[in-house]
Amino acid sequence: MQLEIKHATVRYSNSDKILDNIDLNITEGQFLGITGKAGCGKTTLLETIAGFHKPESGFVLLDGQNIYEKRFVSQSFRKRLQIVFQFPENQFFESDIWNEIGFGLKNISSSPEEKERKTIEAMLAVGLDINEMKNVSPFALSGGQKRRLALACAIVVSPEILLLDEPFSGLDGDGQNQIISILKDLHRNGTTILMVSHDPNVLSEVADKIVVLDAGKIQFNDIPSRVFADKYLCDKLGIGQPETKITADLIGLDLDEDLTYSNFIKKLEKKYLAAHD
């Protein structure tokens, strides 16, 4: 699977350029974080990749095929690539969860048994209890459950590429951890994930590489430790730094290329024990 964006420029009907000459290459099985301050074009980039904004110039290629060409079959594209928008809770309409998740499958003609299996799989993946939830209405769920249901609706077609726009916004500590573990499982099973997020801590925890956008241009496309290296630049780009990096800099601890929390604790422990021997 090869997803390339070649010098794409996107502009809404009368506004100035939202995305300006974007070149991006997404390889299979990658977990790519997308960040930047408000209005830098993060969501537009995600929606352009998902086929909602035809670039003025440049292309979006999936395995070499331009997804905006007329004869490009959108059904198969939807099967391979799914997008979950910010605050996705307002898309529900079915009378119960089972049909709500199954809606995605209805448009991709697969056999009833397979539909049954896939729907159960999706509910398990997002931690929704099958027999308790089967004929509960999607509108009667809590905020966190609705967010996980929206995720289930996307992963039921087992897409190769999953795009998420701020999946944690509006959730509490528990809700966020649940979504993170779901995304980590999906990534482990080989799904390529593109995630827009403001939270440097989560990005440095889960993302292999991070794209930083500013005024529609890509400023960085690198591993977290290099993206968050320079405090002054991070403040200027409005992306902030993960707390592990901030504290490590304050006490002069070298995290060498790995900003995750577990590594931070390991390094601290090593430094402390070394000082005592």
């Binding site: 799914q82 979950v84 928008f85 307002n90 529900f92 809606f103 995605g104 448009n107 509108f139 609706c153």
Partner: protein
């Protein structure tokens, strides 16, 4: 605010007090409707030309609404000309009866309808929707003597205006979400296309009503005293 029809400008009409404009429109419409004969149409024509000159609006824009009315007006004219029979038919073929009276009445109605359409088009293009709401609010005020809660009505109108851009974005987001899930809206037979309306309309109503529910709590918290109660 989606003021698709408002043309920015600062002609006398744009600056005129919205209430007077609204009352003026109502009065002109009634005059045109009441004046059955040719005189009414001439007055209307003179009135419209002066208003168009005053408002400095592009002519094409003012006459735009007539395009969609074209067939409707022809139908009205034919209905009157062919089927109106009160006696003196020039030529009749069981129910069809062409008469002078019918034809005259036909083109009178058509001309009056055109006049009213242009008048309201001028009014809409020179007044923003918020000004229109204020105009209506003032015109309705005398109805308070019939115990009609006009303050509540004007609140409802201004809430409705404020909701329009919000609902528009909601529906757009719902549409994108459903397309992302594989729904397609313009392919397949009539049945599938009608069925494709459900995943849009139901969520649109749910999110609209949820917003209304939250807003009603908010205005209650802001000490909203309904007009209706104050009348009791």
């Amino acid at each position: 605010m989606i003021d698709l029809t408002y043309q920015t400008g600062d002609s006398i009409l744009h600056r005129m007090n919205p209430t007077h404009k609204f009352l003026g429109l109502l009065i002109c419409t009634i005059i045109i409707l009441v004046s059955k004969n040719l005189a009414g149409t001439i007055i209307a024509a003179v009135l419209i030309t002066t208003l168009i000159l005053l408002s400095k609006l592009p002519i094409k824009k003012v006459f735009a609404p007539l395009k969609s009315l074209f067939f409707f007006l022809i139908m009205i004219f034919l209905m009157n000309a062919l089927f109106f029979n009160n006696g003196d038919c020039l030529y009749s073929y069981h129910s069809i009866c062409i008469s002078y009276k019918g034809i005259e009445q036909g083109y009178n109605i058509v001309l009056h309808t055109i006049a009213i359409t242009i008048l309201s088009s001028i009014f809409i293009r020179t007044t923003t929707s918020i000004e229109i709401m204020r105009g209506i609010e003032n015109t309705l005020r005398p109805l308070r003597i019939f115990h009609i809660p006009t303050k509540d009505i004007s609140l409802i109108m201004s809430i409705a205006l404020q909701f329009i851009p919000v609902f528009f974005n909601d529906i757009d987001r719902i549409r994108k979400a459903q397309i992302a899930r594989g729904a397609n809206f313009n392919k397949g037979s009539i049945i599938t296309r009608i069925q494709s309306i459900f995943p849009l309309v139901i969520p649109a109503f749910i999110s609209a009503f949820r917003r209304a529910d939250e807003l009603s709590t908010a205005i209650e918290a802001r000490g909203f005293q309904s007009d209706y109660e104050s009348f009791k």
